[in-house]
Subunit: 296 residues, 2 copies
């Protein structure tokens, strides 16, 4: 994560960080991830992973969060399993805000049977007893931390997922509409936390984020595309569990209840080594989202 001037020097920086005897720094966040024991990782269930393949040959993998938005996630799984989403495309990219996908034309195909058109608002939840708070301040909430490897905020009465980079939400019209899940967006800039508790968050992007964040920005109001670029049209949207075993993506998320995750957060909040002059001694929830890795 250094801003070193050339890749060779970046390598050198790392070497120094591990070898300098005089001032041996603590392990870096990346070194902690690299050294994490298998027990610190949790497999992401294939039935919660959605693989989007784009017309330009790239792909992205999403992880759904049924424990936080059961009705919306059930809708999304139905939209995936019925092939309804295969005709979707990236329709909006607003810089420092969101990339949004759905039917490229004003008129969507009729929603398949089993999709609830107006689900309940799944914005807030009863606080989980498994909430692991960060010990640092948050600009928006009384407390922030993690529940089952997801970033959450709480005011004591309720708990909600936070709009961090890569989190996925359900686009909707004005309240009380909550969105069916036929249009989703992901955050591609500074966390728009003002949306917390106003939109249903249903998951996060776990791979191919660059295939959503680095798309051309839309030129219409709110970053909508006048005409969605061909490359951003979907060719298939599939649950990993419906792919042949050999084609299934296999990912793990760090267990936010593990000692390794606590060490990683501490290292991220207290940067040391040869690059950092001054440690922040703090971190915000969206710089402390759980590491994800391919199953080795």
């Amino acid at each position: 994560m250094t801003l070193t001037k050339a890749i060779k020097l970046a390598g050198l920086g790392v070497a120094l960080a591990t070898l300098t005897a005089a001032d041996t720094p603590a392990l870096s966040p990346q070194e902690i991830v690299d050294a994490a024991p298998a027990s610190a990782w949790k497999d992401i269930p294939p039935e919660d992973m959605v693989v989007i393949r784009f017309k330009d040959g790239t792909s992205s993998v999403l992880q759904l969060a049924p424990e936080f938005a059961p009705v919306h996630v059930a809708n999304i799984k139905t939209l995936v399993k019925t092939g309804w989403l295969n005709s979707a495309a990236l329709i909006r990219v607003q810089d420092n805000y969101v990339t949004q996908w759905g039917y490229p034309d004003a008129e969507e195909a009729p929603l398949p049977a089993g999709v609830i058109k107006t689900p309940p608002a799944e914005y807030e939840h009863t606080p989980s007893k498994n909430f692991k708070p960060l010990k640092y301040k948050d600009s928006f909430a009384a407390k922030v931390g993690h529940v089952a490897s997801w970033p959450v905020a709480t005011d004591g009465q309720s708990q909600w997922l936070t709009h961090c980079y890569g989190m996925i939400g359900v686009a909707r019209d004005v309240a009380p509409d909550t969105g069916s899940g036929s249009q989703l967006y992901t955050v591609i800039g500074q966390a728009p936390r003002a949306l917390d508790r106003n939109v249903t968050l249903v998951g996060r992007v776990i791979a191919g984020m660059e295939n959503l964040s680095a798309r051309p920005r839309g030129t219409e109001d709110l970053g909508f595309y006048k005409t969605p670029p061909e490359g951003g049209r979907f060719t298939s949207v599939t649950l990993a569990s419906d792919l042949p075993e050999a084609e299934r993506p296999k990912f793990q998320v760090m267990d936010t209840d593990s000692a390794t995750f606590a060490d990683w957060v501490k290292a991220r909040a207290n940067r040391s080594g040869t690059f950092f002059v001054k440690s922040a001694g703090a971190i915000d929830i969206c710089n402390a989202t759980a590491p994800i890795r391919k199953v080795p």
Copy 2:
């Protein structure tokens, strides 16, 4: 900023927000910007604006902050005026972190006369008496707010610019090197505030941010390009003040000491209207960066 499902509905949403008599909401942040009096805007000096033209025909405009980093900014202006930067290119794009530019080859051309190779660290400053604090918590600092339309944080003893989306910093090797300004980066993701007080921030991107943030991500360590894409090579880097009057970009930034800016921050922190169900009642510094506009 709504996540409305289609642009037609987005338009409708805005219409409702202004016309609904029953529940007439306060002005939206955008409506406050649109209605801002001329006195709420400050011209950005042409001698502080840098125009980067890329080989693919796109361009970006940067605003330098000589009041915060005089030595580094003087270096950068010399690198621009001597044409040294005309041979630079985008060399690194790391998703949710930074886009960095400099010489695409390991060896830079010799720095021109007048460029200080190792400037003093311009990381922190004596607190300004013109500091306008936000009344909300910050995860990283005792207080955050604005000084002369720039986002800053303070611990009471010193004050520093914050690493918000679009802010520009000076890439450097390991301390005590501070970087000459020959390589710069801009933030393209969640604010990496851990870098605050560890790097010299020298300005911000005020136009063409998408020509820096939407570039292909680099495939090497830290997001460096193996071979910088041709389109991201610079064709010219010029101070606006050195362009013919007719070609000069003309931009204004909202005066963060103005009543309009206070209203805008309040509206951003307390979203209302037909889309928002629950107002955060708070905002973080990187969601409260001063609006910028082309001179009308």
